[in-house]
């Protein structure tokens, strides 16, 4: 089985570290970016199976990031999960409207995280 590559985009090192731990334990290969712009750079050169992105980030926020990813020809079918602590539906809807595939609520439960990833990626 191919190892799936996950791009994690978050400005918090703590969250990146925890995602990395959880995902690599579950057998994923993890790529990291600290904001949307970096995320786009990674996507230019790296193959990625699924993206997990924060919404609130400096330089380029998650909404812009998702819009940009979807605007790129070969990333229209790339699953993007929104990682957010927003308890309101607000950000989630914005992310969804921008082209987000699904969402993960922080703080995340590792099992839930993995099962959600499997819901959007082969």
């Amino acid at each position: 089985m191919t190892i799936l590559r996950v791009l994690t985009v978050d400005d918090s090192r703590t969250i990146l570290a925890m995602l990395h731990h959880t995902l690599s334990n579950a057998g994923f290969e993890v790529l990291q970016a600290e904001d949307g712009k970096q995320g786009l750079e990674v996507l230019k050169t790296e193959h990625v199976d699924v993206v997990i992105t924060d919404i609130n980030m400096p330089v380029m926020d998650g909404i812009e990031f998702i819009k940009n990813v979807r605007a790129t020809g070969n990333h229209q079918s790339l699953p993007i999960l929104i990682l957010t602590t927003e308890t309101s539906q607000d950000k989630r809807d914005q992310g969804k409207a921008a082209g987000g595939t699904g969402w993960i609520v922080k703080p995340f439960d590792p099992e839930k995280l993995i099962s959600v990833i499997h819901r959007v990626v082969h």
Partner: protein, 801 residues
């Protein structure tokens, strides 16, 4: 757990950075800079502190940070004014956050009511706001945070498959109205995706896979909506599915949760049937359709393959494809895909991400297999592995397209002022000279004594070479930039002269120094003009001579050692030597008693003021032309040679240096002076004592080299120097001039090889026949650069005079 400790350490590091950031931001905010960027930065910092705190269960910190964050959110979107009071409150809040972080780090407990006063003030501010605002989403009541932020302790152990635990199911407030079904259930789901579902990269297949985990599942694709091919819209969604799910323990909420992400992007109907009621939806029979196949039984292992087989067969049948046709149909791909091409490869590009796990089959792949293919048709219930057939090709296509994209993205460049580059080129040139000077200074004694120094010098030499090549590469440009101007010229010339000419170009990506390129444009234009005007004959003449009506001018560039050869060839009439000689004699270029060889006659076209065109044409026959070409080319250290075949054509070869900055030379001694001969033109060196000279009747000398007679030029004589070396101790430097004609130069001594920076004589003094330029040697002496080509050709004139 140590992992958790690691994360905590990361978190506290991050917190201390964030708190510093807060301090900086608020210093600016206090100073009156209350722009959106700063507020956003503050908001993000608190948000990050809260996010990490939630993960570790620092509930007091989460609580306070959440209240603070909400306040900031209100300030950020302008609902609360950023007054001085609010700023002060925030600065106080920052301290409280810092104290909470510290408490969490050390494990010390803060008083239970710590920060409560400030939190109350946040609440009051927010409530004050809430009075005149509606129940906007962003305005969470701050009091609720305790409920929302029940910390989830992170299980950092290995991942356990979600299938075993239904604990992942959240009590979704939308659906919890339905009573839990504990008795054995038989569920019927009708699922109709919209385009938006695909646009957001959701995939029905994955949803089915997740559903299959819940119980025993049957899926039937509803394909009746798929229109006839003529009415088919590539991006419309026609396919929907009917699913039965049988499990004693599932609830509607569990099913709904599977469809959580696609809520709003699809129509979904869920109904529970009694155990005894069989799921049977009558399929409307389309005119062309065969009876709808029975629903395939899907298990977790075989669902994908079966589903695909089902769709494959059904759609193919419904659309009544001719099996020979190579039309592919893509029922529903991503809605935003910009274009549709009916090749089978096309879908692969849009869905490349789904292809990487080979055994999986996405909906797009499913669509792809609808295209009739030579793969034998499979029975709906048996197909498992053969379905992978299209995947490898598709996958490689996808990779190609993505790597292609990368390539274009990867091209990065900066614009640099040419002067700056030239300064570097010059300095590198000097560096090369210095380096070769140093090497030169190392005599045998020094070499033996300072081996380390010698090694260092060798490395220096190598590095300098590399540096020089790299710098030269910066200046290099493809000759294409010059070649590309010529087709138009040829077209215009053809029209003016009424000739039929085609231009062929070869090797246009050959790179040459930018300065050479710039200097090349005029000579090359002249040469091509000359070929079109004088070389290529009129169509009638050509036909009469049994040649193709259309004349060809062939332009080629290639690298040959340290040189670039640019060749302009035509298949015209060749140089009319009789006429050339006639004109040359008339103009006194050649004395009446001299009988130059054919080759020498050919070279006469480069003589100043020479033109043979019977009528002065407005294209190239003004007598200025080829001599200008020659002087231009010489200026850039190049040479021109012409070779002609009567009735067959003419070939003009430009030999150009790769770079103008540095020249590889052999340092020789003529009389007492050093001269340098370009290394690129030297064939070999021979001791005079071993050379076999022969006198010729005209009084000159020739050298016999391997049966070939070569013209001998005594440089001392030629440059009017006095040679004090014994004739047998002198050397012959055998050089190759253009057109492989050789010339033997007699020098007094050979000193060695080195690199020199060319200094123009014309710019600093004046043009001297037989000298291509000057250079300053490592020891500060000036040496002249021997111009082999011009030495050889001037013999004709000398003899003539």
């Amino acid at each position: 757990m140590s992992d958790l400790d690691d994360f905590k350490a990361t978190y506290f590091d991050e917190c201390s950075e964030l708190l510093n950031e807060l301090e900086e931001q608020f210093a600016a905010i206090e100073a009156g800079e209350r722009d959106a960027d700063r507020l956003n930065a503050v908001f993000r910092a608190i948000h990050s502190v809260k996010g990490g705190a939630g993960a570790f269960g620092f509930s007091a910190l989460v609580g306070f940070a959440h209240a603070y964050e909400t306040l900031l959110d209100y300030v950020r979107d302008g609902r609360i004014e950023m007054s001085d009071d609010v700023v002060n409150l925030c600065i106080r809040a920052n301290d409280i956050v810092a104290d909470h972080v510290k408490a969490a780090q050390t494990g010390d407990a803060l008083p239970a009511d710590y920060g409560m006063e400030e939190k109350d003030r946040f609440d009051a501010l927010a409530r004050g706001e809430r009075d005149d605002s509606d129940d906007d989403e962003g305005g969470d009541p701050i009091d609720d945070f305790d409920i929302e932020f029940v910390p989830v302790m992170v299980n950092l152990g290995g991942y356990q498959p979600a299938a075993e635990t239904s604990s992942g199911v959240e009590a979704d407030d939308v659906f919890d109205a339905l009573p839990m079904q504990v008795e054995p259930g038989h569920w019927e789901i009708r699922f109709t995706p919209h385009r938006a579902l695909y646009a957001r990269a959701n995939d029905p297949l994955l949803l089915f896979r997740e559903l299959a985990v819940l119980g025993d599942m049957h899926v039937r694709a509803v394909l009746e909506e798929i229109p006839a091919l003529v009415d088919f819209e590539p991006f419309a969604v026609y396919c929907s599915w009917e699913i039965t799910l049988v499990s004693p323990s599932i609830t509607e909420a569990m099913i709904r949760e599977v469809f959580e992400f696609v809520d709003g992007d699809c129509d979904i109907a869920i109904a529970q049937l009694g155990n005894s009621i069989a799921f049977d939806i009558p399929a409307p029979a389309p005119a062309v359709a065969k009876p709808a196949p029975k629903p395939a039984k899907l298990t977790a292992e075989s669902d994908r393959a079966d589903l695909l087989a089902l769709a494959d067969d059904e759609v193919a049948d419904l659309l009544d494809f001719s099996r020979d046709s190579d039309v592919a149909v893509v029922p529903a791909l991503t809605a935003e895909k910009p274009s549709f091409t009916p090749e089978p490869e096309a879908p692969a590009i849009t869905v490349q991400d789904t292809f990487d796990e080979a055994p999986s089959l996405s909906f797009a792949e499913l669509a792809e297999t609808i295209a009739p293919s030579p793969i034998p048709k499979r029975a709906a219930s048996t197909a498992v592995t053969p379905l992978r057939a299209p995947a490898p090709a598709a996958s490689s296509d996808g990779e190609e397209s993505s790597s292609g994209g990368n390539r274009s993205v990867g091209v990065q460049s900066i614009r640099v002022d040419l002067d700056k580059v030239d300064r570097v080129v010059n300095m590198v040139g000097e560096l090369v000279i210095t380096q070769s000077m140093l090497t030169q200074q190392m005599d045998e004694t020094l070499r033996a004594r300072y081996t380390e120094l010698v090694r260092g010098l060798e490395v220096l030499a190598q590095t300098t070479r590399g540096l020089q090549d790299s710098v030269m590469a910066i200046r290099a440009q493809p000759v294409k930039t010059v070649f590309s101007r010529l087709p138009r010229l040829v077209r215009e010339l053809a029209t003016k002269t009424g000739k039929k000419i085609k231009l062929e170009t070869v090797g246009e990506n050959t790179e040459i120094d930018k300065t050479v390129i710039e200097q090349l444009s005029d000579p090359l234009t002249h040469m091509v003009r000359n070929s079109a005007d004088h070389g290529i004959e009129s169509p009638e003449t050509r036909l009469a001579r049994g040649k193709p009506e259309i004349g060809t001018i062939r332009l080629s560039a290639e690298q040959a050692g340290g040189n670039i050869l640019i060749i302009v060839e035509d298949d015209g009439g060749g140089i009319n030597r009789e006429r050339v000689l006639q004109v040359a004699r008339d103009k006194g270029v050649v004395a009446p008693d001299v009988n130059p060889t054919d080759e020498q006659i050919d070279q006469l076209i480069f003589a100043p003021g020479f033109s043979t065109a019977s009528e002065v044409s407005d294209i190239s026959g003004r007598g200025v032309g080829m001599d200008v070409v020659l002087s231009n080319i010489k200026k850039i250290g190049g040479s021109v040679h012409v070779r002609s075949w009567t009735g067959k054509g003419t070939r003009m070869t430009l030999r150009l240096p790769l770079t103008l900055a540095v020249l590889d030379v052999m340092l020789v001694k003529v009389g007492v002076s050093p001269y340098v001969v370009p290394l690129s033109s030297i064939v070999e060196t021979i001791q005079c004592s071993r050379a076999s000279f022969e006198r010729v009747p005209s009084g000159g000398q020739v050298l016999q080299v391997r049966g070939e007679y070569v013209q001998v030029i005594d440089l001392a004589q030629r440059f009017e120097m006095v040679s004090e070396t014994e004739p047998e101790n002198r050397f012959v430097v055998l050089c190759e001039a253009e057109g492989s004609a050789k010339v033997a130069l007699i020098v007094d001594d050979i000193i060695g090889q080195q690199q020199v920076v060319i200094k123009s004589l014309e710019e600093n003094f004046e043009r001297v026949e037989g000298i291509a330029g000057g250079t300053i040697l490592g020891d500060g002496n000036v040496a002249l650069i021997v111009d082999v080509q011009s030495l050889k050709t001037t013999i004709v004139h000398k003899n003539a005079a």
